[in-house]
Amino acid sequence: MSELARRASAILWKDLVTELRTRQGFSAMLSFAALVLFLFSFAIGPDTELLRRLAGGLLWVAIVFTGTLSLGRAFQSEEVAGGVRLLRLYPDDTRAIYLGKLAANLVLLAVLELVLWPAAAILFQVDLLPHALGLSLVAALGTFGFSTIGTFFSALTVHLRARELLLPLLLFPALIPVILGAVNATDGLLLGDPMGRLGGWVRLLGAYDVILFVVCLWIFPVVLEE
């Protein structure tokens, strides 16, 4: 078990160091996310009440779009260098790859969201502070759900030709519970929860995260089999 963790952390570390060195990837993600938020503001118009109501949905759409971009790059450097073959040894080693990549993606998205949430608060004029704890939980659950299935499909599509098409195509249906759960929970916190459904949405997110994580982790070795 600790062997698995050790290998996974090695991969996590390597990915993060690579990311830190180039820094291009992250700034690209950040600009893209900011652009999406700005475009939404312009597209929807100056109606502040409307923007406030939509803030949760817009924010999560921005996170998903940007996240999908970053997933597209997740296995790319290995693909180019043929490194995935070297990584692929025993099933447990493969799972370490999954965990490492997942963790790296999570870290990236976490840093992104640290900027994005305040940015959305400013642009859409919502006050995050009273609900900071709840929002952090929702952000964590939603992002984890996204990264779990995202890393999985990213690995699967890395060898395929129309990857830019296939990754979103495969990802979109899988993300519906995440988006619905995250947006509705976020709205519940920011806009009020008259029917007391917040708990239900959070539980849905949690259940989704657990189920998909277990299934993806279990089945991942098959994806990299040669």
Binding site: A162, R197, L204, V223
Partner: protein, 220 residues
């Protein structure tokens, strides 16, 4: 095997009889008029769509455990026919909703989940078409087949909760009353037709796989 021919003939007869019964032998619905007769196709086709993806799931599991390409071929056949059934379900659902409620689409949980199911299995077929190695193809397809199926209940649940906040018109299926015998007849007929199509698709897939595995022959 010419059992396939028999099955084909039976499908034709069955669907023919079922359609005649649905169009002429059953009185029109008082509330919904003639269009309600679409139920006799919509319900069987929707059921078959669900069945086919369960078959894909089962075959995917079997393949992952036994690694026999036979299972993968059945999965392919079921997925193709399943995509056909699912598309039909959505189209018929729209054609039903429009005259009754005046809109082409409702975010009804069942209908929405069906649309998502379609996307999942179109993705399944596209991934298959882009993979040339039979074993690799079977492996990835099986993975998508399993995960796709696992997603479905969760998707349905989340859409159900999402929509229960607003009161949408309910699914055509739950609203209409149907004459049991005619519905059963159509259900049986379309199921036989489904089996026939899957069997035929499987046969062709078998031949194609054999051709693939033979590989290029050396020039003597």
């Amino acid at each position: 095997m010419r059992a396939q021919r028999v099955l084909g003939g039976l499908s034709l007869v069955g669907v023919g009889l079922g359609t005649i019964a649905a169009l002429f032998l059953v009185p029109a619905d008082r509330l919904q008029g003639q269009v309600q007769r679409l139920l006799y196709v919509h319900v069987p086709v929707a059921w078959l769509a669900e069945l086919s993806f369960f078959v894909v799931f089962l075959m995917s599991l079997l393949y992952l455990v036994q690694r026999k390409l036979t299972w993968d071929l059945v999965a392919l056949a079921a997925a193709e026919v399943g995509v056909l059934c699912t598309s039909l379900t959505l189209i018929l659902g729209s054609l039903w909703a429009k005259p009754i409620w005046g809109i082409w689409w409702t975010w009804d949980p069942r209908l929405t989940t069906t649309a998502i199911l379609l996307i999942i299995y179109v993705g399944y077929l596209i991934v298959r078409s882009m993979t040339d190695d039979p074993d690799q193809r079977a492996r990835w397809a099986a993975v998508i087949g399993v995960i796709g199926f696992v997603q479905v209940p969760i998707v349905y649940l989340s859409v159900f909760w999402w929509r229960s906040l607003h009161q949408p018109p309910s699914s055509p299926r739950s609203m209409a009353t149907a004459f049991g015998a005619v519905l059963l007849l159509n259900l049986a007929a379309y199921t036989v037709a489904f089996t026939y199509l899957v069997l035929r698709r499987y046969r062709v897939a078998q031949i194609n796989l054999e051709l693939e595995l033979r590989g290029p022959e050396e020039e003597p």
